[in-house]
Amino acid sequence: MTNSITDLAGSECIFIIGSNAAESHPIIMGEIYKAAEKGGTIIVVDPRRTAVAENAHIHLSIEPGTDIPLLAGMMRYIIDEGFYDREFVDARVDGFDDLKEFVAEWSVERAAEECRIPAAVIRNVARIYAEAAESAIVYCMGITQHACGSANVTALCDLAMLCGHVGTEHSGIYPLRGQNNVQGACDMGALPNVYPGYQDVSDHAIKAKFEGAWGRELSGSPGLTVTEMIRSAGREIRGLFIMAENPALSDPDVTHVAQSLASLDFLVVQDIFMTETAKFAHLVLPGGSFAEKTGTFTNTERRFQLVRKAVEPPGNAKDDFSILCLLGTAAGLDFSYTDPRDVMTEIARCAPAYGGVTYERLERQGLQWPCPHEEHPGTPYLHKGRFTRGKGLFVVPRHTPPQEMPDDEYPFYLSTGRMFAHYHTGTMTRRSPFLNRETEMAYAEMNPLDALGIGVGEGDTIRISTRRGSIIVAVRVTCRIASGSIFVPFHFTEARANVLTNPVLDPQAKTPEFKVCAARLEKVIDR
């Protein structure tokens, strides 16, 4: 996220694309409403009429997977009409000609046809976004979980840079992070290609630095991503250590994931509950929940925040920090840390961006990185006056349509996502009595016309099948979803939406295409 969450309240135009913030990030939605109360315009792009769309000024219900046509059409119009920020583009961004060449093939009319929304609406939205003094873009998994996810993100960045809506207090790009510490896990180098602080593993100088700091020889070639590791489990990958993750429910095509996990020589799972993944493990280690540990989380606005221990772990369980210290020592490493504080000191030493982070400074309100030294006040928004690489660069986003489109055999679009009362694989929320009462059953949202078509009503059960498998869920009939599409939340272990999803990956980010695949529906005759 380039800016801070509270900055959203001052934006004049907020362009929300592929995010159901009202259900997945409700507190951020509060800031968006503040902007609306001040007279800001809220534009929502989403195939579904979500709670966010319901409360927006303009809702663009585009066809699934046509984000790039829409954005390209908008950019074409903005360039043609001269609404873009010439000064900003000239002074701070390279590659404008490439972008112009790219959008030349995307007339507004062509975009309108692809997205199936009127051209006038695209023009209107483009003008509002470009002409507002400060516009923000909010996006989430609706953008990234596509086979062209990285290109989608590139297109959004291009749009923001084109209009000069980067590097000021209330503009910027807001990717909403789905988990409390995804930002932190990335920052800390839990990625196959970078060390802590996004330092490249294949860079010799950096590798040498870490070899010095850690006292071991390190591998210089980037590793496998989560989706690749799971896929090659049992072949290239023989032993796997999974800490508090649940790929048996969260990865696409979980039937294959289950086979892969079962074929491992050795699988260790460290978690707080017996998850679907832990059932495949040879060894299960009981970890600690957020209330049982001291440490830091980094939220989506890059804010390091202190987590404080409130209770003891149950029974013989240990907090993850202690377990990792034991494991590291057993692996022959020097893991003689007595307190998470020591680890933070080491992080600050080896990753320059977090150099000024100490527990004392986090006590009151946390600290937003980059914060290179102890006197640095933290950075509420990035790219002020200058981009990380100096000048920004327009990268041309190539449009690839979704890899699996509805056809005669599988005529429906299927997308998966979250709903407000549950969270991710439901390991925690399904065990919270209150939340589980709010929604206790898996369901699929479908349009009244489609429901009529296959002869089902609210509460009836249907079988959803794709080329990967099928699940049985209850129907929820609602106008929020367009005819020809269905939506299934993936929180429910009894009806695993990820049995259905298509495991094609974005070539760059290796994110699976959760948002579009083709499905077939059948009524299940009552038992």
Partner: protein, 133 residues
Amino acid sequence: MNLVRTICPYCGTGCGLLLRVVDGTAVATYPDREHPVARGHLCIKGWTAHEFIHHPDRLTSPLVKKGDSFKEISWDDAIKLAMDQLLGIAGKYGGDAVGGLSSAKCTNEENYLFQKMIRAGFHTNNVDHCARL
């Protein structure tokens, strides 16, 4: 009464929570009014963040798989088993045969230690977490 100021375990907004702890049990959650983002607001999941902490399903001991069922073992044995097996695999097939999935639910410190353990302990960069999912 003891109110512990901490951070919500769910989405990336990172709202502040006050957990009320009575006799070692978290019994209630309140919003943290001093938190810079949440400012005393929480969503439905935040308000109930204390509910799963003491759930009877919580794992309380290391478990090893024997046949189709799990058996409790001691921590010493569990740590030894884990490292013997994983280091054995790394020795036999090379470090790249071992992988680690870290977690976006764990703290920065734990993530740092985890990737350090995988990278330095097994000579591989096969470490990732669920940011892509």
